[in-house]
Structure formats: structure tokens, C-alpha cells
């Protein structure tokens, strides 16, 4: 480095400061979306990192530049659009459409009753059946969901948390019926209960038994479903709840630490399950911050796995992640603008080295996407992949002084916050004390106040507004879905072997009360068509229910 550089930079700054009087900048201070300062210019002086140690090469520790040496030169990221609505039949149609249009993996969205372990005829399910995803009451629905979709060939991600064990069992049972073997099944279950308590709200049981179910899944899959990603440790929702990028990384990795500790506690060897841990991040508005964030997360996790958990297998240190563009950044106003937002966010995720990507549709501030909207979202990914050239070299933005400095800053700020969580006793304790929730709420409120004071411009919402007609042609989920599901349930209950169901549930209850792995018992129950609600109620009996306690 030029030894005269510091002096030159200082001279330049002084000169520039003088010119500000005549040519002021737009703001007195520039901050990114997470309120970190953004300087006027970045130079080699800002990059403290030793290239070899901190930035390194792709596929090598600490994986700043990516978890594979060839990244997208070998294979593009998986284009995996989250989808699901109403009935299994309709969702099945949407999945086959997306696969025809070139999507490379499935991502299942379940409705709220399913996510919270209620059958469609439960009193709390009223009005909610099929609204935010597909309604799955039993294996029968699951079979319809994957009709004509070869599970041995398609990788499926299921956004399911509290009852993840049950839905995974159903998936396995459907595959069995197709003649596919468990060993070949590939996919992911989100299975991240901690963030439910913090930011998403679809929990069922209290933390301890929930962690038990999670480690049961880790152990079961390590043995029987080795290609399956057993957890998708999520920051997406934490960010959507209002957190900053730093909090998103810190709280997600803290949750990850808690899961690793739980698994080790039940006797699993870190290198046996850690390679199958995966992550899920948000891609938000501030372009460079997001790219830096992904790189910082990778580097930080690698260090944690190596130094804190003494992992030996490099695969245990690799942070593989799925990204979804930030839903909360979309506007109901001038919805076509959302296509542009999603493009920038998708680009940031790709430049950040994501393994798979979901792009939101333009109409999602208001409803589930129409076929047309979701096709545009998919095309966005395809244009980035095939036309823009950014995927032709690995980690192309590396070396940008701004980016490397931002990566360093996010890493150290996130690390400090992880230490705070540690000091509180770890993620579970921090959640019980309301620490994460409060941090997120404060950030959410700050953001809103910035928008209302126009400190933060949201195009079409607080600036560049137009008078516009109400949007037309939004997707609507018919209320009859609820009625149809109820009927299906009635039919199921009268046509199945109810004695076998009863026995299976008793066996599950005994399992849950003891220490044995619950997965085999859940599989047995699922195979005889016990419903999701029946299985979860059995577990509720044993584990109790979680009630959120802390407020604002």
C-alpha cells in the first residue's frame, strides 16, 4: 500500500469539507438501513483485513467468499419459490406449473392451522383454512399435494416449525408410497422454533420439549434421511419483524448456537449433524449492506463452529443459506415498483452467494401472488442468472473497499451482540427475558418513525405518490376451502382404521413422556392416517402449550 495514502486521503477530506459549503451533501450524516454510518468514500485504508486470513478463497475457511469453490459456475442457486394455498389439489397444480416454468426446487407454504397443529375443523381454524398456505390435515392431503411429483427427483423445502416432525413424517410416508427410499430424499424443514417465539408466532409447545423434538429430528435424519437439511435457522422473520441487519445476523447465529448446544447435549457429535444445518436470511433494501451481511454471517459462523464447537469437518463450518427478498419492503402503492425492489434484493442475495432464492411477487403486499406475478418473480431470477453475467465469477464484489469494510463492521457488531445474548444465558434465556423481542421492537419503531418523518423515503408511500385505483385481480382464497377440508376430515375419520389410530397415538404419548426418539412413533401414526391435530393434541397433552409473556 502506498505509504503516502493516509496523507493524501486526509488532504482530500479537508478539501472536500471546504467545498461542502457551496456543494452540500443531501444529508448531514449518511446511515444505512441498520443505522451504521456510511462514509463519503472508502479506500484501502478501510480494509483492515488480511486477504488470506479474513477474505480468503471460495470454498475455504472462513468461507467469506462462498461455501463452494465454483459457486454458480457449477450450478445456479436453486430457484425456489415459496408457494401454497387453499387445498392440496390447487397447490399441487401451482407446483407443477412452477416446475414447468423452470423452477428447480419446491417450497411448501402451509396455512396457519397446519402450522400451529390444528385440524381444519378446529374452532380456532375458522376463517384461516387455506389462507396463507395449503391446508394439510393428514397424509391423505399430503398425497394429493405431491401427486405426479417424483419426490426422489425434486428437492422440497417445507416452511413448518412447531409440527415439523409430523410434516416430515408425512413427506417420508408419501415418498414410501411412491417407491422412493428415505436415503434419497432431499429437502429442508424450517424447524426453527426459537425464532417463532421471537418473531413469527406459530409456536405450540414450550421451549424445552420443542428443542427435544428438534434434536429427535436431527438424530433420525442423520441415520435415515442423510440428504435432508434438518433445520433452516432463520433470520428472515427476525428482519421482517423490524430488526437491523446486525440483529438479524446476531440473533440467527445465537439461535444456531443454541441448537448446536442442544444437539451436543443429547450426545450427538457435532460433525454428524452440523453439515446439515442450513440458514435462511432476508434480502432487504440497502444493497451493499445486504451483500456484506451475507459474507459476514458466513465468516462469523465458520469461526463459531471451528473455535467454539471444535468442528473438524469443513462442511460443519459452512453456512449454507436460502434467501427470500424482504416482504415487508414491498408496497401496496404502485405495486409494479415492487418488481424493481425485488430485482435489487435478489441481485444482492446472488452477489452474497446464496444457495437458494425466493423472489417475492409484486402483489404480495396485498395477497398471495397470482400466476402472472409469480412468473415475473421467477423470471427475475432467471434474467439475473442467464443474462446479467454476475453469476459467471465467484464473489465478484470482493475487494470493494466499501464492501469489505462493511463486512468487517457487521461481523464485529454481530459478534458483540452474540456476546450479549451469551451473557444473558444464551438464546433461550434471552428470549425468555424478552431481550431479543425488545431489541427488535425498538428497531421496528425507529424504522417507522424514520418513514413518517420522511428521513427514510419509501417511493410511492411517503414520496412520489400518485392517486391510484384499487388493484384488481388479486388472488382470493375461497371460503369453501374450509368447508371442503371439514368434509374431507369427516370422510377420513369414517374410512380409516380408528383402532389403529388410537393405538398409534397411545404409543406416541408414551414415547413423548419418555426419552425415546419420537420420529418412529410419529411416522407410525401418520401412516395410519392420524390427523395432524390428533398427533399435536397428543403432544400438547404431554408437553403443554407455550404462552407468550413479554410485551413492549
Amino acid at each position: 500500500m502506498d505509504e503516502h495514502l493516509p496523507g493524501k486521503v486526509q488532504q482530500w477530506e479537508e478539501k472536500t469539507k471546504k467545498s461542502l459549503a457551496k456543494n452540500p451533501e443531501r444529508k448531514p450524516k449518511f446511515k444505512n438501513a441498520s443505522q451504521l454510518t456510511v462514509e463519503r468514500v472508502y479506500t484501502p485504508l478501510d480494509v483492515a483485513s488480511d486477504y488470506t486470513v479474513n477474505i480468503g478463497l471460495p470454498g475455504e475457511y472462513p468461507f467469506t467468499r462462498g461455501v463452494q469453490p465454483t459457486m454458480y459456475r457449477g450450478r445456479f442457486w436453486t430457484m425456489r419459490q415459496y408457494a401454497g394455498m387453499a387445498s392440496a389439489e390447487e397447490s399441487n397444480a401451482r407446483y407443477r406449473y412452477l416446475l414447468e416454468q423452470g423452477q428447480t426446487g419446491l417450497s411448501v407454504a402451509f396455512d396457519l392451522p397446519t402450522q400451529i397443529g390444528y385440524d381444519s375443523d378446529h374452532i380456532l381454524a375458522a376463517g384461516e383454512v387455506g389462507k396463507v398456505g395449503v391446508a394439510i390435515d393428514s397424509l391423505a392431503d399430503m398425497e394429493l399435494l405431491f401427486k405426479d411429483i417424483p419426490l426422489e427427483k425434486v428437492s422440497t423445502s417445507m416452511t413448518i416449525n412447531a409440527p415439523a416432525a409430523v410434516l416430515l413424517a408425512m413427506y417420508i410416508a408419501v415418498a414410501e408410497k411412491q417407491g422412493a427410499s428415505m436415503e434419497k430424499l432431499s429437502g429442508t424443514i424450517q424447524n426453527d422454533i426459537l425464532k417463532e417465539y421471537v418473531a413469527r408466532g406459530t409456536y405450540i409447545f414450550p421451549p424445552a420439549p420443542s428443542m427435544r423434538l428438534i434434536t429427535d429430528i436431527f438424530a433420525f435424519c442423520a441415520q435415515h434421511v442423510p440428504e435432508w437439511n434438518t433445520i433452516s435457522i432463520s433470520g428472515y422473520h427476525i428482519r421482517e419483524a423490524g430488526s437491523t441487519a446486525v440483529q438479524e445476523v446476531a440473533f440467527t447465529l445465537s439461535d444456531g448456537i443454541a441448537y448446536v448446544e442442544a444437539a451436543i447435549k443429547v450426545g450427538l457429535n457435532v460433525d454428524d449433524f452440523a453439515p446439515r444445518l442450513s440458514f435462511f436470511f432476508n434480502s432487504h433494501v440497502d444493497f451493499f449492506e445486504e451483500v456484506a451481511k451475507f459474507r459476514a454471517a458466513r465468516r462469523l459462523w465458520a469461526k463459531i463452529m471451528k473455535e467454539r464447537f471444535a468442528a473438524k469437518n469443513p462442511k460443519s463450518m459452512m453456512l449454507r443459506f436460502h434467501t427470500q427478498t424482504g416482504g415487508s419492503t414491498l408496497t401496496a402503492q404502485q405495486p409494479d415498483n415492487n418488481v424493481v425492489r425485488v430485482t435489487l434484493q435478489a441481485l444482492a442475495a446472488v452477489l452474497g452467494g446464496t444457495q437458494s432464492l425466493h423472489t417475492n411477487s409484486r402483489d404480495e403486499a396485498l395477497a398471495l401472488p397470482t400466476e402472472d406475478s409469480v412468473r415475473i418473480a421467477l423470471r427475475t431470477q432467471q434474467i439475473i442468472a442467464y443474462e446479467s453475467g454476475v453469476a459467471d465469477t465467484v464473489d465478484p464484489l470482493a475487494g470493494s473497499y466499501y464492501l469489505e469494510k462493511m463486512t468487517d463492521d457487521i461481523e464485529s457488531a454481530a459478534f458483540a451482540l452474540i456476546q450479549k445474548v451469551d451473557a444473558l444465558g444464551g438464546a433461550v434465556a434471552a428470549i425468555e427475558k424478552g431481550f431479543m423481542q425488545r431489541e427488535i421492537q425498538d428497531a421496528a419503531y425507529d424504522w417507522q418513525m424514520q418513514v413518517e418523518s420522511k428521513d427514510r423515503v419509501v417511493v410511492g408511500v411517503n414520496q412520489f405518490c400518485i392517486k391510484e385505483p384499487s388493484p384488481r385481480g388479486l388472488l382470493r382464497v375461497d371460503a369453501s376451502v374450509g368447508e371442503n377440508q371439514k368434509q374431507k376430515l369427516q370422510q377420513l375419520r369414517s374410512s380409516r382404521d380408528n383402532e389403529a389410530v388410537k393405538q398409534a397415538l397411545l404409543h406416541l404419548e408414551a414415547c413423548a413422556r419418555g426419552a425415546a426418539n419420537c420420529m418412529p412413533a410419529i411416522l407410525d401414526a401418520v401412516r395410519v392416517y392420524a390427523t395432524l391435530g390428533e398427533i399435536c393434541d397428543t403432544l400438547r397433552k404431554v408437553f403443554g402449550e407455550y404462552h407468550a409473556d413479554n410485551v413492549l
Binding site: 390444528y118 389462507k131 419483524a241 408496497t331 401496496a332 402503492q333 403486499a365 395477497a367 421496528a444
Partner: protein, 134 residues
């Protein structure tokens, strides 16, 4: 020692929707505007919401729903208020609610729906305008 009448607002999340960022931001904004806000948390049934509203003698109930179940749940709250002769309690709503559902909701007693992108100041002004103190 002039004591003040404070506007009391119940912020509620009916149904299974777990997205409470908006509800919490609204609660804070109302507090910062000098109101007393009762927030009852997630997974409230219409019965629980109305019970709280009556016991807390609120002036306004603010319902938040992002799961699409608003057409089912909001009118239930209004109907229960009517059953308890408490229709004078103002009911407003917000969340992911398409414009085309607003007339239906208003017909069923919801005074106003605050769609995505609405500033908290708009809500505060609306409440100040529509809540007359005894």
C-alpha cells in the same frame, strides 16, 4: 390537580396470525400520543377481545390481521359488542386487507380500515377525531 381523561385503546390480534410488528408499533405510537393502550397479545378469540374491551372500558378496539381471515373475524367482534350493548366502542382494523374487502367490513360495523403504508399519525388523528369524551 386537574385529572385527565385518557383515551383507552385495545390493540388486538384475532385468530392465528403471529405477525405483531404492526400492532406493537401502533401500540407505541398511541402511547406516545398520550393514550392508554391495552395489548392482549396473539391468538385472541373474538370472545376474549370483547371481554377485555368491556372490562377495560376502552373507547376503541384496533384489530390487526395479516392472515386473510379478517372478513371472518372482524365482523364477529362487532357482533359480540352489539350483543353486549357496547356498539359505542369504535372498531378499526389494519393488516393485509385488500381494498375490495373494505366495504364489506364497514357494512359489518368496522369504522375504518388502515391499509399498508398508512402512517401512525393518521391513525392517531382518526381516533382523536372520533372519540368523544363523556
Amino acid at each position: 390537580m386537574a385529572e385527565e381523561k385518557r383515551t383507552r385503546v385495545l390493540v388486538a390480534k384475532p385468530g392465528l396470525d403471529g405477525h405483531d410488528r404492526g400492532a406493537k408499533v401502533v401500540a407505541r405510537a398511541l402511547r406516545d400520543a398520550g393514550m392508554e393502550v391495552i395489548y392482549t397479545g396473539l391468538r385472541q378469540t373474538p370472545e376474549q377481545i370483547v371481554e377485555a374491551a368491556l372490562q377495560e372500558d376502552v373507547d376503541v378496539i384496533g384489530l390487526s390481521c395479516l392472515s386473510g381471515a379478517h372478513n371472518h373475524l372482524f365482523p364477529q367482534v362487532v357482533a359480540l359488542l352489539k350483543k353486549h350493548q357496547a356498539e359505542d366502542i369504535l372498531v378499526v382494523g389494519g393488516g393485509v386487507i385488500p381494498d375490495e374487502d373494505i366495504p364489506f367490513l364497514k357494512e359489518h360495523g368496522v369504522k375504518e380500515i388502515f391499509t399498508p403504508g398508512t402512517g401512525t399519525n393518521v391513525l392517531v388523528d382518526f381516533i382523536k377525531k372520533h372519540v368523544a369524551h363523556r
